[in-house]
């Protein structure tokens, strides 16, 4: 049998159920792997004692024949999910020392189903970034290296720690969140699978808020099926989130192996950006060929407002962020910089506590919401958002799913693309539309670029039709037979 850290989540579950391995040895293997690869900086906080205690309980339940759906499965939790009694930082200085007195609904669902907690993964500060270089706890290193080049690469962001941990085999799966691409872009950069489900599918309760109308939690793992298994546990109606959808949660994993014969796949012409790297274009064409081979029909579609999605996002998301982040006031929790007056206390605390990117976005948001500019910016962006959603509504008249590249490039070096904020924002050009329209999107590893770095394809589906998304993603995964592994990984 291969190393415990090389198992997929589904394989580990089967081995646990068959008592071929114990949850304790599985947890210990991952705890050790995290220690050995600490240089990746994938974790802000590890919880080895908690992991071993969880695992012991899982072993007892398995022995009693009372295993739950994720019994004994070691997971990493993005440090944006509040975990009761475990420090939660959102990778920001301003939350330093904050120990939530409550558990987020998504993580509570995972523990209810028997998962084992390995620790809290690094991220861009408040999930604002595409390279995991805005964290107050330092950069995360991508476990992949470009061929013949020893420079450290970014894992993508904002869920960079979760992506690196999954890719390097430090966990069997991880939670992540996606506001403009923060699950799918890091998945593409690390050769892992990540799905942002439909808005409302997973409760946002207890997740540190960035942009509430766009934020959505989802899983990252090494296979499509593993993501499907995790999402089933994470999802579900929650009265504590007013936007949580009261709809049944299907058995997503059952959809993964289903035939895609007869499915109509849309290929949006507006995603063929000028100057798009030839490698990305050929990967996309390869994906189209695979799906055709599997029995899908391919249809060129038009999503005419695609070009305006990112600029609209950079009004809507900062506006919501400026409002959400008003709560960090130095009074109720987190950092406090003493001052003589209340206003000075706020200004000093927030000036010292927020990093450069977060500050920029709060200021953009404050400006677009300020008197006299609200209509010109915020209202305009919301109207453009309506048009983007309408583009997709029209597309669903003729197709069942949409295939696009996940990112416009493979992982770049730490320090690259940092010249100006807008260059970094363009990373999310293919992913942000699904957030604005609230649709599910998955990134599946589909090939390597000339430098030996992974590239991903994205499948977007109708609202609450993750099953079709998983079906198509499963077909791509089978056709791609992606078996490349990163240079830095447990067991290597």
């Amino acid at each position: 049998m291969s190393a415990l850290t090389d198992l997929t989540l589904a394989e580990a579950s089967a081995a646990l159920a068959a008592k071929k391995i114990s949850a304790t040895e599985l947890a210990r293997a991952h705890v050790e792997a995290i220690d050995r690869l600490a240089a990746l900086n994938a974790f802000i906080l590890t919880t080895p004692d908690r992991a071993l205690a969880d695992a012991r309980r899982s072993d007892e339940r398995i022995a009693r024949g009372e295993a739950r759906p994720l019994e004994g499965i070691p997971l990493a939790i993005k440090d944006l999910f509040c975990t009761e009694g475990i420090e939660t930082t959102a990778a920001s200085r301003i939350l330093g020392g904050f120990v939530p007195p409550y558990e987020s609904t998504v993580t509570a669902n995972l523990w209810r189903d028997g998962a084992v907690c390995l620790g809290k993964t690094n991220l861009d500060e408040f999930a604002m970034g595409s390279s995991n270089t805005t964290s107050a706890y330092g950069n995360v290193v991508n476990p992949w290296k470009r061929r013949g080049d020893n420079r450290d690469l970014v894992p993508g962001g904002s869920s960079g720690g979760s992506a690196a941990a999954v890719a390097a085999r430090l966990c069997l799966g991880a939670t992540a969140t996606d506001t403009g691409g923060s699950i799918r872009q890091p998945a593409a950069f690390t050769g892992t699978v990540g799905i942002k489900p439909t808005y409302g599918r997973c409760s946002r309760w207890g997740i540190v808020a960035f942009a509430s109308s766009l934020d959505q939690a989802g899983p990252m793992a090494r296979t499509v099926k593993d993501c499907a298994i995790l999402l089933r546990s994470m999802a579900g109606f929650d009265p504590k989130d007013s936007t949580s959808a009261d709809v049944p949660v299907p058995d997503f994993a059952a959809a993964v192996g289903q035939s895609v014969k007869g499915l109509r796949i849309g290929v949006p012409r507006e995603y063929r950006l000028d100057g798009l790297a030839p490698e990305i274009v050929s990967l996309w064409e390869q994906g189209i060929a695979w799906l055709k081979e599997a029995g899908c029909t391919i249809h060129e579609i038009s999503l005419p407002h695609t070009k305006y999605a990112l600029p609209a996002y950079y009004i809507v998301a900062p506006a919501e962020a400026s409002s959400n982040l008003a709560r960090y006031d130095g009074v109720r929790f987190g950092l406090r910089v003493p001052a003589d007056s209340l206003d000075e206390l706020y200004e000093a605390t927030r000036g010292a506590g927020f990093g450069a990117e977060v500050r920029r976005r709060i200021m953009i948001g404050t400006y677009v919401l300020s008197a006299g500019y609200y209509d010109a910016y915020y209202l305009k962006a919301q109207k453009v958002r309506a048009l983007i959603a309408r583009d997709f509504d029209a597309a669903w008249q003729s197709v069942d799913a949409i295939l696009t590249p996940a990112t416009p490039s493979s992982a770049f070096a730490i320090g690259e693309k940092q010249d100006d904020p807008v260059t970094m924002y363009l990373n999310d050009v293919f992913t942000v539309t699904a957030n604005l329209a609230g649709l599910p999107g998955i990134s599946v590893p589909a090939g390597l670029d000339a430098g030996g770095l992974p590239l991903g394809l994205q499948v977007i589906g109708r609202a609450f039709d993750e099953e079709t998304v998983f079906r198509v993603a499963g077909a791509i995964e089978r056709a791609a037979a992606f078996d490349a592994v990163p240079q830095l990984r447990a067991g290597a």
Binding site: L214, L335, E347, I364, Y377, P421, V422
Partner: protein
Amino acid sequence: MSLDAETIRRIASLARIRVSEAEVATLQGELNGILAWIEQLGEVDTEGVAPLSGAARMALRMREDAVTDGGIRERILRNAPERIGLDGAFFAVPKVVE
């Protein structure tokens, strides 16, 4: 349209974020770069389009108007950087009224 240094200072003050004079200049360049890029939304004809405020395309739920939580003072105060009063029952702030 371009933001001048005075406007940057005003936005920072509205956002209650202290920025140094050196940062004002940096922020001015960055924010103007972002706003110039955003300006392209002006090309889109949005006449008669209803704004979309959220991705949850469903009506907000109603629930019974009943108290469902409470009695957790200590849990709420536990993370306070500074507390005041008997049993530390209050969040502490600098003196607001003379």
